[in-house]
Symmetry: C2
Subunit: 343 residues, 2 copies
């Protein structure tokens, strides 16, 4: 393969100056339609596409947005955030750069090297609570910051999130309205307490609701992924709880689903004996008929990207900090509390 065509080649081919080529290709005004057409044809003929590096160097705009992910890239939430961010970036000609700050070493390395520096026009931070000096480091990036699901939002020019606490309260309230009084919370299975971005707000909401509506908390469970068959252990514990819960609120759909099949295996019928409510309303939840608190992760990602783009263009955000509503979807794992309450 020969070398890539440059703007000069196109200029020569079209018989104009590089200035005109640059203007024409970026759809800028003040180019004669005829000239523009000639340039476009020449560019197509030479298979030309501009070097982003060169453009970035002179314009100071990289046409890239960085997504900094706490914890891990994988998973329903972060995955859908990525989809949403990509949805809007791609339609605006921006590229998506991924950074992960999972383990503490990785995290330290990110803030030490700051690889995003001068390498993107904005950064979106997701599922991340920043330490004091990390905030400072981020500011050094000298680019707009948008936060998704971040504890504090003071360091960002824009943010978007759901209210985890309130959402969980609503879930409990909903189940209480179905007659449930004895509850149990199934916590996330891979807690990284040091990095928590408000993930614990769900359980806080749960406990608040228990108090507020005078319900009974039968206990909080965690599944340990390093043990053999964690879901069965959890199901066994639930079976032996006294009093026995009739409603289970899970931290996520994945937790809920794993438990669900074990409850049924143990012949604790769902929703006849126990109701179970997931969180997220992921694809699998819909497939499996799992009731769940739905959060619009993809929309959240898209909105974050929109904010980033606005910030890049220097327009002030009409609503810098957005809170998104969740809603409860009743599928086949929630129902009225069983009659024989005194089980």
């Amino acid at each position: 393969m020969s070398r890539q065509a440059t703007i000069k080649d196109v200029a020569r081919e079209a018989g104009v100056s590089t200035f005109t080529v640059s203007k024409a290709l970026r759809n800028q005004p003040h180019v004669a339609p005829e000239t523009r057409k000639r340039v476009l044809r020449a560019a197509a003929r030479l298979n030309y596409s501009a070097s982003k590096s060169a453009a970035a160097l002179v314009s100071g705009k990289t046409k890239r947005v960085a997504l900094l992910i706490g914890e891990q890239i994988t998973g329903w939430f972060n995955g859908n955030i990525q989809e949403g961010v990509y949805d809007v970036l791609s339609t605006h000609g921006y590229d998506l750069l991924i950074y992960r700050a999972g383990t503490s070493e990785e995290r330290a390395a990110f803030f030490r090297n700051l690889p995003a520096k001068r390498n993107a026009d904005a950064i979106i931070v997701v599922s991340f609570t920043l330490a004091q000096k990390e905030t400072k480091a981020l500011q050094e990036l000298d680019m707009p910051i948008v936060a998704i699901h971040s504890g504090a939002t003071s360091f960002s020019q824009g943010s978007i999130r759901i209210d985890d606490c309130e959402s969980e309260i609503e879930a409990v309230q909903h189940l209480a309205s179905l007659g449930h009084t004895r509850f149990c919370f199934l916590d996330r299975f891979n807690p990284l307490p040091e990095y928590s971005w408000g993930a614990n707000q769900r359980i806080i909401g749960y406990k608040k609701a228990i108090d507020r509506y005078h319900l009974v908390d039968c206990g909080v469970l965690t599944m340990d992924p390093d043990r053999e068959h964690p879901a069965r252990t959890a199901a066994d514990r639930i079976a032996s709880m006294t009093p026995a819960p009739t409603a289970i609120c899970a931290w996520s759909d994945d937790c809920a689903l794993a438990l669900l099949s074990e409850l049924r295996q143990a012949e604790i019928r769902v929703p006849d004996v126990v109701s179970i409510m997931g969180f997220d309303s992921s694809d699998v939840a819909a497939l499996a008929g799992l009731s769940s608190v739905a959060q619009p992760a993809r929309d959240i990602g898209a909105e974050a990207a929109r904010k980033a783009l606005q910030l890049i263009n220097g327009s002030p955000l009409t609503e810098p900090h957005t809170q998104v509503k969740t809603h409860i979807i009743d599928r086949a794992t929630t129902g009225p509390a069983p009659r024989d309450e005194g089980r």
Copy 2:
């Protein structure tokens, strides 16, 4: 915030030339230890980090690798591929750029605009079967191509994959060795046939195994995510199959898990009456105790990135096209075939 420091600022601060700064900061030889130290200190003091754009422009190396994802970014497989790719890129100072070619419009746009052009040093293509002219377009990128799970591999300089067909054969064989003779296959729920990257190889393997070992295929099921409660419908269909299958092979863990809880709800005990085998061995599978065909997605991603890096450095690949083994993990959803075979 004032403008970012440039290499000139550092040179002035350290009292050397920009040449020396450049050398020193990139850990290149032929710089006196004393000089290097002085440069590093000056850079730290000014909070300097080199502009990748400028470096890319002159060196021709962007220090970025693009990941082109077929279908969607979300999901266990693509997510873990991303983690693996990131694992090795980040330790080598490379950035990760994401491109998605999901819908056909998006796909067309990608190959029309070729946003990765001159924007990365290599491209990794995942879960993607390319049309003739797409292959040509990709070649125009003029950078090394590494394919993950791609049907044809002729367009790539390196590739890595599992053998979906063989893996499924082994799954069936394993269940047959447990005494099962009547099988059923639960297909993926979001098939995009036009883009299939060999995803259908699993079902082909299933059918091959049925033939080879003289087993009975009781049918192939698909869950339609657009219908109400797809898993229950699938469970009902299985319950009414004659002859009734005693072993179910699922396209993925997610499918399997959704079905599992419904089977148990319908009092079709697993594994007592029916065994079910997932595919992937995802986190949730381990949690839920789902038996599964394990594929090392993260390792595959890492290896693909390693190949890309080698190719970038111009070293020939010792093993350009790698095939990775899967292995079966028996958890709590597979067991011996039930005695009363004539159910």
